[in-house]
């Protein structure tokens, strides 16, 4: 990611935002996590394919593993809280490791663009083999009423065929 460095205070605020978001998810404080989402959020996890070099993007622009608005993410959170979402009853232990945070000016006033690397792990029950996913996240954050909120997220997974049996969590 090239371009002018943003003000260090903004970079620090964005990093703190991403770490807080990770903490809320890993603590299953999903309602508080939803508070960090802009009402106009678009959140996508495109399907990746291996293509011959130079033949178009590996990430599909029409098919996704997640293709969400704040409304559908809220529905997913409501489901997880219902007690009948068997994929996460009892809950798994998840960990979002967020590194390599790069912050640049965003596409509009009051926005910043942030890229970060994500290592996601899940332990379900007494399983001893970590379920893992790795990705680069490309986010746009928007500041409104003095707070940063997530306006756009593209999770660029490294995996084509997912090595996890479901995505009953958020990336």
């Amino acid at each position: 990611m090239s371009g002018e460095l943003v003000d260090w205070q903004i970079e620090r605020a964005v990093t703190a935002f991403l770490f807080l978001e990770a903490e809320l998810q890993d603590d299953r404080a999903f309602d508080a996590w939803l508070e960090l989402l802009d009402p106009e959020l678009r959140y996508v996890v495109p399907v990746r394919t291996t293509r011959p070099e130079g033949q178009g993007p590996e990430l599909s622009d029409v098919m996704f593993h997640f293709d969400e608005t704040k409304a559908t993410l809220t529905m997913r959170v409501d489901r997880l809280k219902s007690g009948d979402a068997w994929a996460e009853v009892p809950p798994s232990r998840t960990r979002h490791f967020v590194t390599n945070v790069r912050v640049a000016a965003g596409p509009a006033p009051d926005t910043v663009a942030a890229r970060s690397n994500l290592l996601f792990t899940r332990v379900r029950g007494d399983e001893t083999v970590l379920q893992t996913l790795t990705a680069e996240r490309r986010d746009v954050l928007r500041r409104a009423d003095g707070s940063w909120r997530l306006l756009e997220r593209v999770v660029r997974l490294d995996a084509t065929t997912l090595p996890v049996y479901n995505l009953a969590f958020f990336l």
Partner: protein, 448 residues
Amino acid sequence: MLSAGRQDLAAARLAEAAELLDGGYVPSWIYHDPLLFELEKERLFGHTWVFLAHETELPEPGDFVVRSIVDDSVLLVRGNDGEARAFLNQCRHRGSRLCQAEVGRAKNFTCIYHAWSYNREGKLVGVPYDKVIYKGIDRDTLGLVPVRVESCEGLIFGCLDDAAPPLDEYLGDFRFYLELVTRRSAAGMEVVGVPQRWIVEADWKIASENLVGDAYHTPFSHKSTFDVGLLPFSSADARPGGSKTGLHVQAGLADVAMIYRRPGTFMGYPPEVVETLRSRIGDRQRALLDHGTGTGDGVFLNRFHLFPNLSCLNVAAVIDDRLDPYCSIRLWQPRGPGVMEIYSWLLVERDAPQEFKDASRRAYIVSFGPSGMLEQDDMENWRTISATAQGTASGAVPQYARMGAENDIVPIADWGGPGTAYPTQYFDLPTVTFLKRWVEHLQKGAAA
């Protein structure tokens, strides 16, 4: 090939399974068993038609996808003559995997080891230094090893057995019902982008049986989706006698689940789609669609499973008070004992407005696929079945598949379509039929 000793063991275990199934019981161990996996590769998937791709995934000459039939990588490529052909994805020289990409377009396929290259029709067209080092290599006999390919309604299947009956015969009566899904658009159906793929530590048969005919799990496994209002019907509709569990059809090698529809309703599809469908199917199909159930109601086909491992789901989701339908075909690809890779394609009507396609995609993704609110819970269920199947004692436990056995469920007498239709989805006959067919294939393979 299995050793003679292993073959004898297999025969004994299959006989034991068949006997249990006759009584309406399912042996638990079949959902995770190394010997069975070997048998399935050799005797079932080596001889049957297996779904590879939809024709819209390779629209132009040179377009290719790499798929597989269990553990054989298969390269499916459209030739310059417009024909889609399949080959083992393996160089004839030293056996390297020829194509490393999963999807793309190629003029030729060149091996990375010694640069032998093959054209879009699988013919060997390039052998470096051939005049010097081979003194006249016979290129005609060293083309890629072909895999039989036939298609129906845009669905391309492959078969590793040249002696197997043609696809049309394989599909048989099922084709009548398949067309109710594929003929809703004058331009045909198309795949939205690429399939989702993911690995699940569950046997492919469990997933298949769920789509063959497990209406019973819906109100319980998927309770949370009723709670949050995702489904376009209530939990009561999914109970025995409910409006969404009305019909099951066994047609050829397929199982088809249907629901009654009131005039003017079609799972949220716009009226044009219904009119297009009506104009592109035969009189008998039209009559069934409109009022062929014996009760005078029309039908909507919302699920099918084609033996061995291809399923289709055609339902709808409610998001933001909108009802949006989606149609997904899914392949339960065996990857090892108790492990499968799921391929799930979203199909849409090719001539539908973009807005419909986008809404259909969102409805599908929130419901099915690895993040789907329904499918997430299925994965959790299914993998525990393959897990318990490994237990020394648990594996020997017969599972209870006698739902409906005492209920005297009689076929619908004046059913308007081929096959046999039953007035409920709450019975285990489809599951037992599926597993008996599976046993028969494994036993038949031994004789061949």
